[in-house]
């Protein structure tokens, strides 16, 4: 079996590389570049899914030595395929399949606009290679190089439509913020480096020798800030709703659906693996002679992640609700979903910190299952939704919900897939989002039940209410997105003329929608697939505690967690559909075939106009008022007169919401950064001779002191 991986994983990477190379060679013939580049990326992603699934069903640690560099600190550039990495390869590849198929069709439009699509295709394949490298790296140096590569490549992908001013600004903001994050990661790894006697290998970090409590805590904090910036956790999120929407839609799908997950990968890798050492023991890696010691994480780690997750979930979805730009709405909702995942991760850290013999195994694996399952689900439905938004943009050339409407009749397939994605992300049965949110609810109940003090119980209760609020707000958000965008009458010329998109684009979205529905009903299979990943941190057999009790109804009593006879959950999810069709049959049998007259909608007797339908702004007006403390809505009316006060020349009206964070803190921060930058400007005048002089001075100083 292991021979198979020797072939499969390199074949996957090779296909992406080939895709990039072929696209680069055909760069003058963009049509070929698109077909070959995205075709090979699709193939590679399929191979990636197969590799990951096979590995997760028969896990064994598998190391791949990239090359042995001759460096003074003895770093070996290793790639390591363990269950965690395999799970994230599954995520990356699933997102990759959907986006790559879609991109074949969606690039046709860019071809007509004479954009350099070939170059985009090269970058696209390179993006996958860097993401694979991030999750496979078993060495801090390699990890950071891959991470930086991923950030830079994605910056170029974001800036593809660089003619527009807002795209350039968004790209720059993204570039700055991602480097703030990388700086924190560099700090974290340097702490590891100095504490472990100047080792760069993750194996050495795992052993954790020489790390005291303070540096442990500092590393965790830096990891939360660094990876949190990339993942868009509040309050480091503000770049995300600018950067994700301006990219071409299949890139947006990848960034929101896949790339930000690599940040969570890093967070899990550091907090569960490198800082605890459990992974080393549980999967039986050769510990390379390093001393091994298991460390229990302090209670505040979990508390911090839980709080950050709660804030991100509630506020992220609140801003998503207020958005009228379809792609920005989706980007804000990514922040929300990262928050929900962090609730699970935080709870898992909390359970590991509790002094309960049972809790840190069974409960932690429940919490991790909730988090990882939601991660997988978010990849599926967010990709579907972003691709759907891209199809809408393609057909109508607008992302503004107020300009849309009536699309369900004009784009029936896109509408159906968008609806499936919307229902899933709103956490409604029978789709996958419901199952993972249900697991998160159970996790939070377990937090309240097993927390050692009242403060933590209070936080757990708040998180429970917060998650419910998030779910209801998400339902409202996506009811709005679908209801305003796809139902009623078209509110603009462009929407009225919309047409269904290319079949490859429909295939990409449809694949996502089908997977979304399947994963929801087949949640038992996902548990099987995820078991090695979960047990890597919670001990072998801990997920058995989830499966040994009778339906997916968990029983929580204090510290005891159990669960019911397996498959009952599935019929329950499909039950409404069953009763609905039964009802349809009975009504048809008793009352006869439907008799319908078609007539116009009731509009108090006047002709119905598209402008009479509710708009996006109007739909959320009640909630804008309910949450006005947070959203700070404003409206300004300017009236200019020809003859005051009778003849009005024009009325200017503007309304919106103020972001709590962006108004104050960000501006202050930006001013400070610019003033610092102008200080550095003193030593930079752009002259080559001056820089050569600097190099000379540094060389002389080195020679003097070395």
């Amino acid at each position: 079996m292991s021979n198979l991986f020797f072939v499969l994983l390199p074949a996957t990477l090779l296909c992406y590389t080939l895709g990039g190379i072929v696209a680069a060679v055909c760069i003058q013939r963009p049509y070929q570049a698109v077909i070959w580049g995205y075709g090979l990326a699709t193939l590679a992603s399929c191979l990636g899914v197969v590799t990951a699934c096979l590995f997760l069903l028969h896990p064994q640690p598998w190391r791949f030595l990239l090359f042995t560099a001759i460096d003074p600190i003895g770093a070996r550039f290793e790639l390591l395929l363990d269950p965690l990495a395999a799970f994230f390869i599954l995520i990356i590849s699933l997102g990759g399949i959907l986006a790559s198929i879609y991109a074949i069709g969606s690039s046709q439009e860019d071809l007509e606009r004479h954009k350099n699509v070939g170059l985009l295709t090269v970058g696209y394949n390179l993006f996958f290679l860097t993401m694979f490298a991030v999750v496979l790296a078993n060495n801090a140096y390699l990890f950071l190089v891959a991470w930086e590569g991923m950030s830079l490549v994605s910056y170029f992908l974001v800036s593809f439509n660089h003619e527009a001013e807002d795209v350039r600004r968004a790209g720059l903001l993204y570039l700055i913020m991602t480097h703030v994050g990388t700086a924190c990661l560099l700090g974290a790894f340097l702490l590891f480096f100095s504490a472990t006697g100047e080792h760069l290998s993750f194996d050495a970090f795992r052993a954790g020798g020489g790390l005291n409590v303070w540096s442990r805590n500092l590393i965790f904090l830096l990891a939360v800030i660094g990876f949190g910036t990339k993942a868009g956790l509040m309050p480091m999120h503000f770049w995300l709703p600018h950067a994700h929407p301006v990219a071409p839609s299949h890139i947006s799908a990848l960034m929101s659906g896949v790339m930000i997950k690599t940040a969570l990968y890093g967070l899990v890798r550091i907090s569960f693996d490198l800082l605890s050492g459990v992974g080393l023991q549980a999967t039986g890696y050769p510990s390379s002679g390093l001393a091994f010691q298991r460390v229990i994480p302090p209670l505040w780690w979990g508390t911090l992640l839980l709080s950050v997750g709660l804030i991100s979930a509630v506020f992220g979805v609140l801003y998503a609700l207020m958005e009228t730009d379809l792609k920005r709405l989706l980007a804000f909702s990514s922040i929300e979903n990262m928050g929900i995942i962090c609730l699970g991760l935080g709870a898992a850290l909390l359970f590991q910190a509790l002094p309960l013999p049972f809790a840190n195994g069974g409960l932690a694996s429940l919490a991790l299952f909730a988090a990882f399952f939601h991660l997988l689900n978010h990849t599926l439905f967010k990709s579907t939704l972003f691709l759907g938004a891209g199809a809408v943009l393609h057909a109508t050339s607008t992302r503004n919900l107020e300009q849309l409407g009536g699309l369900l009749k004009r784009m029936p397939w896109t509408g159906l897939f968008f609806l499936v994605g919307s229902l899933a992300i709103a956490g409604l049965p029978p789709f996958n989002g419901f199952v993972s949110e249900w697991l998160t609810y159970q996790t939070l109940l377990a937090v309240v039940a097993s927390a050692p003090d009242l403060w933590l119980k209070g936080l757990g209760t708040l998180a429970l209410g917060g998650l419910a609020l998030t779910g209801a707000l998400a339902a409202t958000t996506f009811v709005k997105a679908f209801g305003i965008g796809f139902l009623a009458q078209p509110r603009s010329e462009a929407a009225a003329k919309a047409h269904e998109v290319h079949w490859t684009m429909r295939l990409g979205m449809g694949g996502g929608a089908v997977l979304t529905a399947t994963v929801g009903v087949a949640s038992g299979a996902i548990l099987t697939l995820l078991t090695p990943t979960l047990e890597q941190w919670t001990g072998t057999g801990s997920t058995q505690l989830l499966a040994s009790y009778p339906g997916w109804s968990l029983h929580i009593s204090g510290t005891i967690l159990a669960q019911a006879d397996g498959n009952l959950f599935l019929p329950v999810l499909l039950l409404p559909l069953g009763v609905a069709s039964l009802g349809w049959l009975i009504v048809r049998w008793l009352v006869g075939p439907p008799q319908r007259d078609v007539d116009e909608s009731w509009a108090c007797g006047v002709q119905l106009k598209p402008s009479m339908a509710y708009t996006s702004i109007a739909f959320v007006k009640p909630l804008r008022r309910v949450f006005q403390l947070v959203l700070q809505p404003y409206r300004e009316t300017k009236v200019s007169y020809l003859v005051k006060p009778y003849f009005v020349e024009r009325i200017e009206y503007r309304s919106g919401i103020k972001s709590l964070l962006a108004s104050g803190v960000i501006h202050a921060l930006r001013r400070r950064i610019f003033s610092l930058a102008s200080l550095i400007r003193v030593v930079q005048n752009g002259s080559l001779r001056l820089y050569l002089g600097y190099i000379l001075v540094v060389l002389v100083l080195l020679l003097l002191f070395a």
Binding site: G465, Q595, S601, F619
Partner: protein, 318 residues
């Protein structure tokens, strides 16, 4: 043996489904009669809701030319959700769904039905539907956290989110059940029952005035059999929500054994309790006027705080 008990469960499920679905319009009639009598009116006969449904079923449907398949699907799906919800109730001992009768799944079914009703409201492109939809989602958003905390409070005390286990565990506790936590949660749940059934002071089911209506606004475009199904589903939801309250907070008398006389007795006892709550709901409607829309968050914040205290008080006061 397991085959036989499987058949037994199936029969019980069909009986319970049919009983709740058939009784639901009667509960509606009872509430209306209570209100009429309290206002010294004779009122419509108690069976009037059945006659209304029969009338709607026989009428030709008028569909908006703007509407899509969402409008066609919604009545069946909403009816399906509420029909499925009846199987979650432990009216005669264990719920027909047994281990899968999960409280959070039940709430999700309500949410699914609500989302489709709201979409149908937007589908026809008129202003009334949109208004109802927008308000419905606002009420849902402010009610949902309180709802989940009530669920959390009972689940944490029973150690499970399984409805039939919660009910049977509570039923065995007798009057020891009446802790501060239980009373607080019952109070919160009472407010939520009023919200979820769309009754005064939250929504007025008897009005078609655009300033006040929420749920009726979304159904404005419906007629014929679709309207009949939606109205029927609304009355089923009312019974389900009331029974939920009954089995969580007044569980005494739920049969703990599976023998036939006990089950029948339990079923009638449950019906009696549901009727009492229905009369109480009608009584409340006599005492309070409808709230302004923006007073609702305060109303539901009360429920949220009560439920929050219900969870914490079980750890403070033992």
């Amino acid at each position: 043996m397991t085959f036989l008990s499987g058949i037994g469960t199936g029969v019980a499920a069909v009986v319970q489904f049919a009983a709740v679905v058939m009784v639901a319009p009667l509960i509606q009639g009872v509430i209306k009669t209570v209100k009429a009598r309290a206002q010294r009116r004779l009122g419509a006969p108690i069976w009037q809701p059945y006659a209304d449904l029969a009338k709607y079923f026989s009428k030709t449907e008028v569909v908006s030319e703007q509407s899509s398949w969402i409008t066609t699907l919604t009545p069946y799906l909403v009816f399906g959700c509420m029909g499925a919800a009846t199987l979650f109730l432990p009216l005669a001992g264990a719920a027909p769904l047994g281990g899968a009768a999960d409280l959070i799944v039940l709430l999700a079914l309500f949410a699914l039905a609500r989302v489709f009703t709201v979409l149908a409201g937007l589908d026809a492109g008129g202003a009334f539907g949109g208004m109802g939809s927008s308000r419905e989602m606002m009420v849902a958003v402010v009610a949902e956290p309180a709802l989940l905390l009530v669920v959390g409070s009972v689940a944490l005390r029973a150690g499970t989110t399984n409805l039939s286990q919660i009910a049977s565990r509570f039923a065995t506790q007798g009057l020891y059940l009446l802790t501060p936590s239980h009373l607080l949660a019952a109070f919160a749940c009472g407010l939520l029952v009023i919200t979820e059934t769309g009754r005064l002071p939250v929504d007025n089911p008897d009005t078609h005035l655009e300033l006040t209506m929420i749920h009726e606004g979304m159904l404005l475009e419906y007629s014929g059999r679709s309207l009949a199904l939606l109205l029927w589903a609304t009355s089923i939801k009312q019974v389900v929500v009331i029974s939920l309250f009954v089995s969580l907070f007044l569980p005494w008398g739920i049969p703990l054994t599976g023998d036939f006389p006990a089950v029948v007795l339990g079923l009638f006892l449950s019906l009696g309790k549901v009727l009492i709550i229905a009369v109480a709901l009608g009584g409340i409607e006599m005492l309070v006027p409808k709230f302004r829309l923006f007073r609702l968050p305060r109303f539901l914040l009360t429920a949220f705080l009560a439920a929050f205290l219900a969870i914490l008080s079980q750890y403070i006061i033992r």
